[in-house]
Symmetry: C3
Subunit: 126 residues, 3 copies
């Protein structure tokens, strides 16, 4: 059920953004009880002028490799699960495609279970 | 008040995505009591690498024609209205531009009524 | 903490969209108690076919200069703060880059404080 929106600077090699998406999905599987095959994502690449971030907020040294990972999810997870998700995403992205932990920005948007239709015009989770 | 975000694969003919947006708006009019003229939408086209979906989740056979329709709406609708919206969107998109019901993915993000400004710096719904 | 998503028609001069983002950030600082350096935004430019708006809803005369400003923020502000934010954004954008108040569309998406990670896999606000 997550709908994953990944935003990053343009210019990365083929497969780079896909590796981010794949690992975010695996982290969701591991920490949010997301079912197998529940993988839906868009990737948006931005030029320098259209991708704005602060290089030091919270004393975190960000670079142009920064990735925004915004996920819409059902509102059924605990704070502990959210913390575990963030940790696991960062761990996974450090390995593939090789992102610094400082360059991973995550945000969750929560919605009710009946706010999803995965096809056929049905509210599969309602 | 809905802000409609439509994401799909690039390469469709002129008017195709607009037909999707028009029919989503009409379905909102029919099921969510959206006023006439309340029509605001963006369309984002993605290359294959930047548009990720599962071809079988929930036993729904999706194709590259899949469309993500994510709508931010006020939190004033019932579950029955949401179900009616999903059904109506799928019915309408089957006619124009001619989408398979399996290829329509819908998500609602709900917000408070005071979270909108339609111009002039005013909170028109507050 | 806000994640700012700015959508507008393509074709503006260099620095135009950046001026919008900068002033939205300053307005957030002034009305939402956003800390210094808490500035993260993406800008998406759309062709005519992919940017849909009504030219008269709420009797507001919009033009192709319309900008959608959608911000994900923590759910900690009052209605009065939201109204102040809208007013301040419109005032600022009238000066730079010079937007008509009718052409500023604003939407807030609110999330829990633990829904953010600004890097390092930590939930900094939890």
């Amino acid at each position: 059920m997550p709908l994953i929106r990944i935003s990053l600077r343009a210019g990365k090699p083929a497969g780079y953004a896909r590796a981010i998406a794949d690992n975010v999905y695996e982290a969701l599987r591991e920490t949010f009880n997301v079912p197998a095959h529940d993988f839906f994502a868009t990737i948006s690449e931005h030029d320098q002028n259209d991708f704005i971030y602060d290089r030091e907020y919270f004393n975190i040294a960000r670079t142009d490799d920064l990735v925004f990972i915004q996920m819409t999810v059902s509102n059924t997870r605990t704070v502990e699960q959210k913390k575990a998700l963030y940790r696991r995403i960062v761990e996974r992205l450090a390995k593939g495609p090789g992102l610094r932990p400082q360059d991973v920005f995550i945000n969750l948007v929560e919605v009710a279970k009946e706010n999803w239709s995965f096809g056929l015009g049905e509210a599969q989770y309602a």
